[in-house]
């Protein structure tokens, strides 16, 4: 393998703020309803959260990520302890003391025997009245609404304390003018796109994404080969685990790769360009054809160019350099991992690209369908260049986390994808595995295959003939 080196035109500096809310940054705004929004905090820019109110970007700058706020009058905010406050949290807020008191002062029931579901009749406050209150705006209007709703609830005292709390939480989610500013990391961006349209991120869950990163051993300084059809979520996660150091060659099937997610990442274009090297499949498989011949013009000719001509010249030079660089990287191979999240047919893809993976390096394939990976695993099991292909499914089950009332939540997302993990190896020609019983010459080849299958986890027990 020839070692190909390339001098970067300039060192990109990693200076992305990850702990502090900074002006101009793309951030995630999390609402009490658990919905999230992506917002760029422009100077003086107002952020409209619909029924939750409006705040000015400048108000939240300078706080650490994760900070929660309550919207006050004049687009101002005040920092608060947490987005939703439960009954027993001792932290802060007159509000919570007030509702605590409210609940304490009102009677509650031992059980729900007295609860009769008669819908709207039980609530004396009308929607119009609530809307009217909302119109008045101002600080603490959410709190006022909730207090009134509870006061006008005929059967609030018939509820148990538990159900009173749940009711309160529901109303808080609906009326509280609060929000949290979160860091727009890969997990948050994934969650955001997942909410909008799961198919856009190939149904990928955070746990699948995290496991991909670990199984592929992604770290600072690595050189990776990536196929990513999630709009760049996988790419972003890798960038975060490399912090600007290393190289990601992204193979794609279009004129340009789709990394739209990277726009939320707050990485500079220079930094992205220094790490991410796109290559399309034509360039990948037909390198000699696709390399761009380039000779620098003599300096006096460049000097004599008009401004726009010169710009064009440098653009073409840049493109030739980039394309040739990416092709050279692929030709020299020896990647530290192959990471694939694609809808392209994986069994044929793997045969064609695994040569590019370095010895003992991991290969991780993500698919929203297990069947795709099953087929790929069958192909891998027969390929002596692949060791121990394994399909994983990982799912996170959330629980209601209230002491004394801990239980799994009633519903959770049903899918999150599957992973196929394998290791690239170099088979040795003409060696024989230890078989069962005496090894006869004519059986050696057969036994070798059996033992290989055994090692690589392919099923052999039921089906292999006894020697």
């Amino acid at each position: 393998m020839s070692e190909y080196t390339y001098q970067e035109p300039k060192e990109a500096v990693f200076d992305k703020p990850t702990q502090l809310i900074t002006r101009g940054q793309c951030v995630v705004v999390r609402l009490p309803s658990e919905l999230t929004k992506m917002v760029v905090l422009g100077q003086g820019k107002l952020v409209n959260l619909g029924k939750f109110g409006t705040f000015c970007s400048d108000e939240v700058v300078g706080y650490p990520f994760g900070q929660s706020f309550e919207i006050l009058e004049d687009n101002k905010v005040k920092p608060i302890g947490a987005l939703l406050q439960t009954h027993d949290e001792p932290e802060d807020a007159e509000y919570d003391n007030a509702t605590d008191e409210l609940i304490r002062n009102l009677a509650s029931s031992e059980n729900n025997q007295q609860i009769i579901n008669i819908g709207t009749k039980i609530q004396k406050m009308t929607t119009a009245e609530i809307e009217e209150l909302k119109e008045t705006g101002g600080a603490g209007v959410g709190k006022q609404i909730i207090e009134k709703i509870i006061a006008s609830h005929d059967a609030f005292d018939k509820k148990t304390v538990f159900s009173q709390e749940k009711y309160l939480k529901r109303k808080q989610q609906k009326y509280l003018r609060r929000f949290t500013i979160d860091y727009a990391g890969p997990s948050q961006v994934l969650q955001f796109y997942y909410q909008k349209d799961p198919s856009r991120v190939l149904d990928m869950s955070e746990e699948s994404l995290g496991m991909m990163m670990n199984l592929a051993n992604v770290r600072q300084g690595g050189k990776y080969l990536l196929v990513d059809e999630t709009g760049g979520v996988v790419l972003y996660a890798m960038m975060e685990r490399m912090r600007g150091e290393g190289m990601i060659v992204v193979a794609h099937e279009n004129e340009h790769p789709n990394h739209s997610v990277m726009a939320h990442s707050n990485y500079s274009d220079e930094l992205i360009d220094s790490v991410v090297k796109p290559i399309n499949w034509l360039q990948f498989f037909d390198p000699e054809e696709e390399k761009i011949g380039w000779t620098d013009f003599p300096q006096d000719i460049i000097d004599g160019m008009t401004g726009s001509k010169r710009q064009q010249y440098y653009r073409r030079k840049r493109r030739a350099t980039d394309v040739n660089h990416a092709i050279n990287l692929v030709e020299s191979g020896n990647f530290d991992a192959l990471i694939v999240a694609t809808t392209l047919h994986m069994p044929s893809l793997v045969e064609k690209v695994l040569e590019k993976v370095g010895g003992s390096r991991p290969m991780v394939f993500y698919s929203q369908f297990k069947e795709t990976l099953v087929q790929t695993q069958h192909v891998m099991a027969k390929d002596l260049r692949v060791l121990a292909p394994t399909i994983f499914e990982t799912r996170v089950r959330p629980y209601q986390t209230i002491p004394g009332r801990i239980h799994p939540v009633m519903s959770m997302r049903g899918f999150g994808g599957y992973l196929l993990w394998a290791t690239r190896v170099f088979p040795k020609e003409g060696i024989t595995a230890v078989g069962r019983g005496i090894v006869r010459k004519e059986n050696r080849k057969k036994q070798k295959i059996e033992a290989l299958d055994e090692l690589s986890g392919a099923p052999t027990e039921e089906s292999t003939p006894e020697v």
């Binding site: 990850t18 300078g62 199984l215 930094l271 020896n334 003992s360 499914e393 799912r395 006894e466």
Partner: protein, 371 residues
């Protein structure tokens, strides 16, 4: 530096993971003249020196082989000597992702245990990051310390300490070390006794995430109460369940073929009866009287295997050893879950501490923003 960067060729003194089977991965330090004995044969270290990582080598006798793999935290998790129950990759990778642990993160881990997660943390946090890991059991601490040093994990600092009673602070030159952790992982029998000790060692100017790893629901209850009492919020407990699937092949056995085979069996049975009848009739004509049930001489009896294989209709390869995927038959790709799954590892309780302060006044802010 085997856990922090790949190299291609094995040299003397290198750390090599010998892949013997899925269940047996043997980590060794390569030393000229030494051998590795396995159930697949004896392998000479001399053969390993100069080989590529990923290479397959054969035993001294010429048959039997192993693969020589490069160390990685995930392979280490599969091969390490268990001093305690360990944190497996589906849990550790999720915790890492959810707590946003990346290059530069400062992490607290207690206890170290078998140091499986420590290796994974050390890889992910890189040179700029720092892992402070604590182990209260002295023999385990000594072993782990030696291991971390041997593995070149210079971004890990291990301390022999019971963090529940002694806290997390580390003395250095008479002063307390600046730990400023951004993420905390507590794998302790009673995390609620360690939670009060965290306040002095976590970052004061950024959000801090904690994950408590406990197998029992009673532990979760006490942990959540302690987290609430000490100002942690966004508390959520989850469970990770992971399964391994195996790819298999199932033969396509059509009911039409089953019917056809029955028809064929019947046809041959009828033919046999007819032949028997004919024999009896012929024998009666010829004057010999065989008693009922007499067998024909062995030489006239067709061999059963031959009959099935050659004369009968045998669409499913009955009586023949068929290899899965044999192109003579039709197959579909199927999968089944591994025979034993880890149905419960531990509950993961996550929570966050927000400093609730404005670190930078936007008026004085000078940081240049990237577009």
């Amino acid at each position: 530096m085997s856990f922090t960067a790949y190299k291609d060729t094995i040299e003397e003194g290198d750390f090599v993971f010998c892949w013997i089977s899925r269940e047996i991965i043997k980590p060794i330090h390569v030393k000229a003249g030494e051998v590795l004995g396995t159930r697949f044969g004896i392998f000479s270290h001399d053969d390993m020196i100069g080989s590529l990582y990923g290479a397959q080598i054969s035993s001294a006798k010429g048959y039997g082989f192993i693969h020589l793999l490069h160390p990685s935290p995930e392979l280490w998790t599969l091969s390490l000597p268990h001093r305690t129950q360990i944190v497996y990759t589906p849990d550790s990778s999720y915790i890492t992702q959810r707590l946003g642990i990346t290059v530069g993160t400062r992490v607290i881990e207690a206890g170290t245990g078998s140091a499986s997660f420590s290796h994974s943390f050390a890889r992910t946090i890189g040179r700029e990051g720092k892992l402070f890991t604590y182990e209260f059991h002295e023999p385990r601490y000594v072993e782990a310390k030696q291991e971390l040093e041997e593995h070149g994990l210079t971004n890990v600092e291990i301390t022999h300490r019971d963090v529940c009673n002694g806290g997390f602070e580390i003395e250095e030159n008479g002063a307390s070390k600046d730990i400023r952790a951004n993420a905390v992982f507590l794998d302790l029998p009673s995390p609620w006794t360690a939670i009060p000790n965290l306040s002095s060692v976590i970052s004061k100017d950024s959000r801090v995430g904690v994950c408590c790893f406990s197998p029992c629901i009673e532990q979760v209850t006490k942990t959540v109460e302690a987290l609430m009492a000490h100002g942690w919020s966004s508390i959520e407990m989850v469970e990770v369940s992971a399964k391994r699937w195996e790819a298999r092949k199932q033969m396509v056995r059509r009911v039409d073929d089953a019917v056809e085979r029955l028809r064929d069996v019947k046809r041959r049975k009828d033919a046999g009866i007819q032949r028997r009848k004919d024999d009896i009739a012929r024998e009666a004509l010829e004057g010999t009287e065989p008693s009922i049930g007499d067998k024909r001489p062995a030489s006239e009896t067709p061999q059963p295997e031959e009959k099935t294989k050659e004369t009968g209709f045998n669409p499913f390869g009955k009586g023949v050893r068929v290899r899965d995927g044999d192109p003579q038959w039709e197959w579909i790709n199927v999968s089944k879950v591994e025979s034993d799954i880890k149905s419960h590892t531990s509950y993961l309780t996550f929570a966050y501490m927000d400093p609730n302060i404005r670190v930078v006044n936007p008026v004085e802010e000078v940081a240049e923003i990237i577009a």
